[in-house]
C-alpha cells in the first residue's frame, strides 16, 4: 500500500520491522546509514520514514533536518527512553511522532496508520472538522460535542484548532506555547498546562482516560485518533 523507508543500523530490529510492515502489505526499503537513507529518498517515492536517532554515520536529527528542506513526508523517530530532550528536539526539527525503544509492534503500527491516513486526506484545509464525535466549525467559531454546543475561550479554541489540525501528531510544548502566546512565552509551560486542563474540563474528559487530548509526558500533546 505505502512505501516505507527504514533507516536503522540494528539488524534484528530491522528484521522484525520489515516482517511486520510487509505483513500489513507495505513496501519496505532499508538503509543502514543516514547517507544511504537520504540517497534513497532522492531516488524513489517514499510515503513514510522511520528513522533511528542513533546511526553509525550521522545523527538522526541531522537526517530529519536535511530531509525537511525538501520533503514533507511523515517521519517517525525511534529513540531510547532516557533522552526526553532528544525526542523534543527531533519533533521540533520536523519529526511527526516517536516510539521509544523497546516498543511493541502494535504501538508502532498505530503510529504508522495514523500518519499515513492524515497525509492521505488533508483535514486541515477544510473549515469544518469532525473527529471522535467532536465537531469543529472554524469559520463559525463553534464546537459541538455529541450535538451539544461547548463554549470555549479564544485561547482554548486556538489550542483545539492546533491539536485537531493534525490529529495523531505530537505537538510539542514549545510549539504550542509559541503559537498561542508568542515567542517570549516559550518557557512558561504552566500557562499551557492550565489551558489544557480547562479545555479538558469543558470537553468533559475523564481525568485518567482522556478521550481527546493525550499527554505525551515531557514532550507535548496529541489529539487522539
Amino acid at each position: 500500500m505505502a512505501t516505507i523507508l527504514l533507516i536503522e543500523d540494528e539488524a534484528q530490529i530491522k528484521k522484525f520491522l520489515r516482517i511486520s510492515l510487509e505483513a500489513h502489505h507495505h513496501v519496505v526499503l532499508e538503509a543502514r546509514l543516514g547517507e544511504q537513507g537520504l540517497a534513497i529518498m532522492v531516488e524513489q517515492k517514499v510515503d513514510l520514514l522511520i528513522v533511528d536517532l542513533g546511526l553509525p554515520d550521522m545523527d538522526g536529527q541531522d537526517v530529519i533536518k536535511a530531509l525537511r528542506k525538501w520533503s514533507q513526508i511523515p517521519i517517525i523517530v525511534l529513540s531510547v527512553r532516557s533522552s526526553e530532550d532528544e525526542k523534543v528536539q527531533a519533533l521540533d526539527a520536523g519529526a511527526n511522532d516517536y516510539v521509544t525503544k523497546p516498543f511493541g509492534i502494535s504501538e508502532l503500527m498505530a503510529r504508522v496508520r495514523a500518519l499515513l491516513r492524515i497525509s492521505d486526506n488533508t483535514v486541515a484545509s477544510s473549515s469544518k472538522r469532525e473527529i471522535n464525535g467532536l465537531f469543529i466549525d472554524l469559520a463559525e467559531y463553534q464546537v459541538k460535542l455529541d450535538d451539544r454546543i461547548i463554549h470555549l475561550s479564544r485561547k482554548e479554541f486556538e489550542l483545539l484548532r492546533l491539536l485537531t489540525e493534525q490529529p495523531g501528531h505530537i505537538l510539542t510544548h514549545r510549539f504550542l506555547t509559541q503559537t498561542i502566546w508568542g515567542e517570549s512565552f516559550v518557557d512558561e509551560t504552566h500557562y499551557l498546562r492550565v489551558l489544557v486542563r480547562q479545555l479538558r474540563h469543558k470537553l468533559g474528559e475523564e481525568p485518567i482516560q482522556p478521550r481527546f487530548i493525550e499527554t505525551v509526558q515531557g514532550v507535548g500533546y496529541r489529539f487522539k485518533v
Binding site: P102, G104, I208
Partner: protein, 516 residues
C-alpha cells in the same frame, strides 16, 4: 653594713637566675619611680618635721620602700632603701645637710631602718614573685586546658596538627621555626602545609623516625620531639631554637596530648576508609547478585519459551503457542523494567538527578503511570479519588510518574484480586498527598522502614516468594525520586482493612505562583 649588702646581692643574683624566664629586665622607669617617690617623701617629711619627732619620719620612708617593693622589683626596692637611708641621714639627722651623724642613737636608728627596709624589700618582692609565678603556672595550666579542649574537638589529622602548631608557637614566642612531620601510609606529610624550605629535610625526619625516640633529641641544630602513642611512631616535631627546660617540658606535654588525639583521628580515618570499602563491596555484590537473578530469570523464560516454540510448534495447540508468545513478551517487559530500575538507582545513588521542573497536572502523571502499567491492570479493580481543584505540581513529570508507577506496580503485585486498589489524592496548603492502597498481606511495623532501604531491597531482589513482599528496588527508587523533590514516601497500614497504604507527599508550591 657591707655584709648585709653582700648578702642581699647574693639573694638578688639567686633570684635572677631563678627568674630567668620571668620578665627580668626591670625597666628604667621603675628606678626613676623609686627615686621620685623618695624625693616626694623627703619634701613631705620636711613639712611634717615641724609637728612630729624626726624619728617618726622614718615610718614614712619605710612606707615608700614597701610601696616600691610591692609595685616593682627588688632592684628599685633596694635603691629606694639606700636612698631613704641617705636622705634621712642628710636632711633629718644633726648635723643637718651632711652625711655625718651627731647622735649615736641616730646611727642605731638608721642601721635598724636600713635592715628593716631591706627586709621589707626582700619580703615584698618575694611575695610578688610568688604571686607572679602562681599566675604563670595558672596561665600555663589554662593553656594546657584550652589546648586539650581544642584537641578534643579535632576530628581529623589536619586540624589536630594546626592546633599543636598554634600552641607551640605560643610557647616558643618565635614563630615559623616549628615543623611537624606526620607519617601517613608510609608517606611523610610536613606541616605547616606546603612548607618547602627551612626544615631539616625529609631524609632527616625519616632517620629520626627510624630511631623511635622516646624523648627530645638534638640533631643538626634541630630539636626533635616524638609524637608517639601506644608504641606507634606517628610523627615528629622539630624545633629550630634554643629552648629552656620549662619550654621543653611544655612542648613534651603538648606532644603527648597531641599524639593521643592523632592516634584517635588516624584510627577513625582508617575505620571510615574500611567502612566505605566494605559498603562499596556490598553494593557491588548485591548489584551483581541482583543483576544475575533479576535479569537472568526473565531471560530464562524468554529463551525457554522461544526455543520451545521453534522446536515443538507443530505439536502445540494454538492456545499454548499464544501462551508461550505472551510469556516472551511479558518477560521482556520485566527485563526492561529491571534495567530501568538499575539505571534509576545508579543515577539516584550518584546524586545525578538534575531536576528539570515544570508545572504538571497530577491527572497527567497518574494517567501516564496507568498507561505504562498496560495490561498489568487488566485483572485489577482500580478506584481513583481525585478532586478537580487539585493544585498543579512543580516537579519533573517523568520522574514523579515513575515514582507513582513504582508504587502502583508494587500495589498490584501484592493486592488480592477481589478488592480494588485505591488511589486517593488529597491536598492542603502545604502538601499534596497521594495514597495508594492495596489489600495484600501488609507490611509488619518492623519492616515498614526497611522496605525503602536500597541494600535491603536489593538483597531481597524481585523475589515474589520471599517472606517480605517482593519489592525489588522499586520502593527505594520511589523514595529517592520523591525526596529529590522535597517530598516524602512512607509505608502505612491500610486504614480500611488489611493491606498497605503507601503515601507520597509532595510540597504544594502553587501558593507561591499565580497560575491564572
Amino acid at each position: 653594713m657591707r655584709f648585709i649588702v653582700k648578702t642581699t646581692l647574693r639573694i638578688f643574683q639567686k633570684k635572677r637566675s631563678a627568674m630567668r624566664f620571668l620578665p627580668t629586665n626591670t625597666p628604667l622607669k621603675h628606678y626613676l619611680l623609686a627615686i621620685g617617690l623618695i624625693f616626694v617623701i623627703v619634701l613631705f617629711a620636711q613639712v611634717l618635721n615641724r609637728y612630729l619627732p624626726y624619728t617618726s619620719l622614718l615610718l614614712l620612708f619605710l612606707a615608700g620602700v614597701l610601696l616600691i617593693s610591692a609595685k616593682t622589683s627588688f632592684g628599685p626596692a633596694l635603691l629606694s632603701s639606700l636612698f631613704s637611708f641617705m636622705a634621712f641621714n642628710y636632711f633629718f639627722t644633726e648635723p643637718y645637710y651632711t652625711f655625718n651623724i651627731l647622735h649615736k642613737a641616730d646611727v642605731a636608728t638608721l642601721i635598724i631602718f636600713l635592715m628593716v627596709a631591706l627586709m621589707t624589700a626582700h619580703l615584698a618582692t618575694q611575695m610578688r614573685e610568688a604571686i607572679a609565678k602562681q599566675e604563670m603556672a595558672l596561665n600555663r595550666l589554662s593553656h594546657f586546658y584550652e589546648f586539650s579542649q581544642k584537641l578534643s574537638f579535632a576530628t581529623n589529622t589536619e586540624t589536630t596538627i594546626e592546633i599543636l602548631l598554634e600552641a607551640l608557637r605560643r610557647v616558643l614566642s618565635n614563630d615559623g621555626r616549628v615543623v611537624i612531620a606526620i607519617q601517613q601510609e608510609s608517606k611523610l606529610i610536613l606541616h605547616p602545609e606546603g612548607i618547602s624550605s627551612g626544615h631539616p629535610g625529609e631524609e632527616v625526619f625519616k632517620l629520626m623516625l627510624s630511631k623511635h625516640l622516646d624523648g627530645e633529641t638534638w640533631h643538626k641544630g634541630w630539636l626533635f620531639f616524638p609524637l608517639s602513642w601506644d608504641g606507634r611512631q606517628l610523627g615528629l616535631v622539630a624545633i629550630n631554637e634554643r629552648i629552656n627546660d620549662k619550654q621543653i617540658t611544655a612542648t613534651e606535654t603538648f606532644c603527648q596530648l597531641t599524639a593521643v588525639v592523632l592516634h584517635r583521628t588516624m584510627l577513625v580515618a582508617e575505620l571510615s576508609q574500611t567502612k566505605l570499602l566494605a559498603e562499596t563491596e556490598q553494593l557491588r555484590a548485591t548489584l551483581l547478585s541482583s543483576v544475575s537473578h533479576d535479569l537472568r530469570t526473565p531471560l530464562s523464560s524468554i529463551i525457554g519459551a522461544s526455543s520451545s516454540l521453534r522446536e515443538y510448534a507443530q505439536h502445540l495447540s494454538t492456545d499454548d503457542q499464544q501462551l508461550l508468545i505472551q510469556t516472551i513478551e511479558d518477560e521482556a517487559h520485566r527485563l526492561d523494567r529491571h534495567i530501568q530500575n538499575l539505571l534509576d538507582m545508579t543515577r539516584l545513588s550518584q546524586g545525578k538527578l538534575n531536576l528539570n521542573r515544570e508545572w504538571m497536572d497530577i491527572d497527567d502523571l497518574i494517567n501516564g503511570a496507568i498507561r505504562r502499567l498496560g495490561h498489568q491492570l487488566d485483572n485489577v479493580q482500580f478506584e481513583l479519588e481525585l478532586t478537580e481543584d487539585t493544585p498543579m505540581l512543580y516537579v519533573q513529570g517523568l520522574i514523579i510518574e515513575q515514582a507513582i508507577f513504582n508504587l502502583l506496580d508494587n500495589a498490584i503485585r501484592h493486592n488480592t484480586a477481589e478488592l480494588a486498589i485505591k488511589l486517593i489524592v488529597q491536598h492542603d496548603d502545604n502538601w499534596i498527598t497521594l495514597d495508594i492502597i492495596d489489600n495484600g498481606p501488609g507490611i509488619a511495623d518492623t519492616e515498614k522502614e526497611k522496605v525503602f532501604n536500597m541494600f535491603y531491597s536489593l538483597a531481597q531482589g524481585d523475589r515474589h516468594e520471599s517472606s517480605l513482599p517482593g519489592t525489588g528496588m522499586g520502593l527505594a527508587i520511589c523514595r529517592g525520586m520523591v525526596e529529590a523533590h522535597g517530598g516524602e514516601v512512607m509505608a502505612l497500614d491500610n486504614p480500611y482493612g488489611k493491606g498497605t497504604m503507601m503515601r507520597i507527599k509532595l510540597p504544594n508550591n502553587q501558593g507561591a505562583v499565580d497560575l491564572s
